[in-house]
Amino acid sequence: MDAFASALGAVSDPFTLLAIMAGAVIGIVFGSIPGLTYSMALALVLPITFKFDTSAAVGMLLGTYIGGMTGGSVSAILLGIPGTPSAAATVLDGYRMTRNGRAGLALGGAVLASGFGGIFSLLVMIVSVDLVARLAIQFGPVEIFALVLFGLSTICGLAGKSLVRGMIAGAIGLLLMTIGLDDMDGVARMTFGWTPLLQGVDLLVAMVGLFAVPQIMKTLIDYRLDRAFKLNASGVRSELPSFRQLRNSFWLMFRCSALGTGVGSIPGTGGPIAAFLAYDHAKRFSKQPQRFGKGELDGVMAPESANNAVTGGAMIPLLSLGIPGDPATAVMLGGFLIHGLVPGPMLFTHNKTEVYLIYLAIFVSYLTVVVFQYFGIRGFVKLLKVPPHLMAVGILIMCGVGTFAIRNSFLDIYMMVGVGLIGYLLMRARIPVTPIILGLVLGPTLEREFRTAVIMSEGSFGVFFSSPTAVIFYALTIAVIGFHFFGQMRDAKKTRDAAGGDKTQQQGAN
């Protein structure tokens, strides 16, 4: 209880509260503007938190994460463009409601469902995270290696349409992390005698470069081609659903929140999948499925409760095992590490206060998000009217300031530009950038545990198959890769068959 009391004290500190709220607002802003992602917001916010104490820093990061997840619904409903991929399902009925003149109700319903889903998943997370951590505390280097390997298999889920390209991205991330001084042998790796490289590629520099720089480039392209989005809504106010509507939708929100939490706890899945599954579930079990797609409130509340429930679900593997499941949690893992919190089983014995602090900060973040999104909707509408190319100028400045603040190094700004340029070119070559981050975050642990296990076994590689837990993780890794591999083969076959069918039809017509 002492730990809980200390955490409560830390969260009640005015500066920490302010940091959480500021994070939530920044998250909503980045989440609500199409093109700006909350992963980018987290990467830009992280350097600002360096001077904060752990509670304020962790609170601000969590606030940004949660704000970002909920903010996506604003532009999904008002513009018909999801601010985040997680809000894509919300567009289906949310935008239709706006066109039917019911934007206020859609926004109010989305806010309420977001808060419900978030708090629901928080409660599930509090119960399960401790259980998972208790199991994981007995892990040695072999099991941790196997677990991190399994974590890396989430690359398959983040790889987009090509598994090989996702794996290339992961390999690039892992390669980059080996540059610099090797902790175990104390030798320089791939520095070619250049001393500044001894400190290696900073994770944050890479994150800002990969998330923000390509986005600035894309915004400028849209500006030149005159295809930026334009908002025509004005005078919008949030409106809460009636008690009767809420009573009718309660079990739907409950089921969708459970679904979202479950999906979120599986690394490599995330908000978009949960939201579409929830939308499909709501439509399938609705008494009036024909109303979906035409402006049905349940079509907004279902995906919004599910995608927000993903936040708590994603926290389960992050906190208990140190495995991030999506880009945002990967950035947060980096942030936690920088502030001295090492997610994993030991977190629950060494940093109990901080664990409670995380729970409380998530709760406060959701409260802030609900209040700000409900009462501050007019502000967000105004913000959506700021042209994206002017917003890009501000982000460009923040990239420079944020990157410099990491190590007070001008070289880091040049490195960030280089990484960003490579990131953009890789994206153009259809190589996803998120697995690079996963490789950068998980790479050092993977190598350290592997080498430690081999040293402890005096050079025998058989040690990796000596633990049943490790073997289970290998099997899961193979299963995940196999699942995605065969899924892609099936999709490719379907595409080929469809193309073949088209050709036959054309020949028949000729």
Binding site: K51, S162, M190, I221, A405, G420, R430, V454, G459
Partner: protein, 165 residues
């Protein structure tokens, strides 16, 4: 547009990178001394070979007869004219590199005001004095006060010019 040519180019570049990487590892990192049979060299070398292997898969896929258009992801789907794209890349890189250099020599306030003014005026072509002045002064002073003064984030001093620190 088929994905064959860009894929051949991509995989060739990655194969060259992987070969250079592996050469760099063998030439500059000493072998195992920690009894792990791997040492500091093992991981980078293994990863370099993995990258090479994966690039070879892409190369073979793109050389396969009938390898035509594949569904595109993210930015690749964008129908972007080459000139606009090069302009956007050059502008972003130029502004950021220029900003880094200006930060070093003129300090945060001047560098930010100049880069914002350059970005809005000459680069974006929005010649509205009120907007240019408002954004340059607003952003530089706003970030200076909020980040530099309130949050204690270290903002760079200028080697040549130094204002307000």
């Amino acid at each position: 547009m088929t994905s064959r040519r860009p894929d051949i180019m991509l995989s060739t570049i990655l194969l060259v990178v992987s070969a250079l990487w592996c050469w760099g590892v063998v030439a500059t990192i000493p072998g195992a001394e920690d009894g792990s049979r791997l040492g500091a060299r093992g991981f980078p070398l293994g990863l370099g070979l993995l990258l090479g292997g994966l690039s070879l898969v892409i190369l073979l896929q793109s050389l396969r007869p009938g390898a035509a258009e594949t569904a595109s992801d993210e930015a690749a789907a964008a129908d972007v004219s080459r000139g606009v794209e090069i302009w956007s890349i050059a502008t972003t890189v130029g502004l950021l590199v220029g900003y880094a250099a200006l930060l070093e020599y003129t300090g945060f306030l001047i560098a930010t005001a100049l880069v914002v003014a350059a970005a809005v005026g000459p680069v974006l072509g929005i010649w509205r004095p009120k907007l240019i002045i408002g954004m340059s002064v607003g952003l530089s002073l706003g970030i200076y006060l909020v980040f530099g003064k309130m949050l204690g984030v270290y903002l760079p001093y200028g080697k040549f010019v130094n204002l307000a620190f």
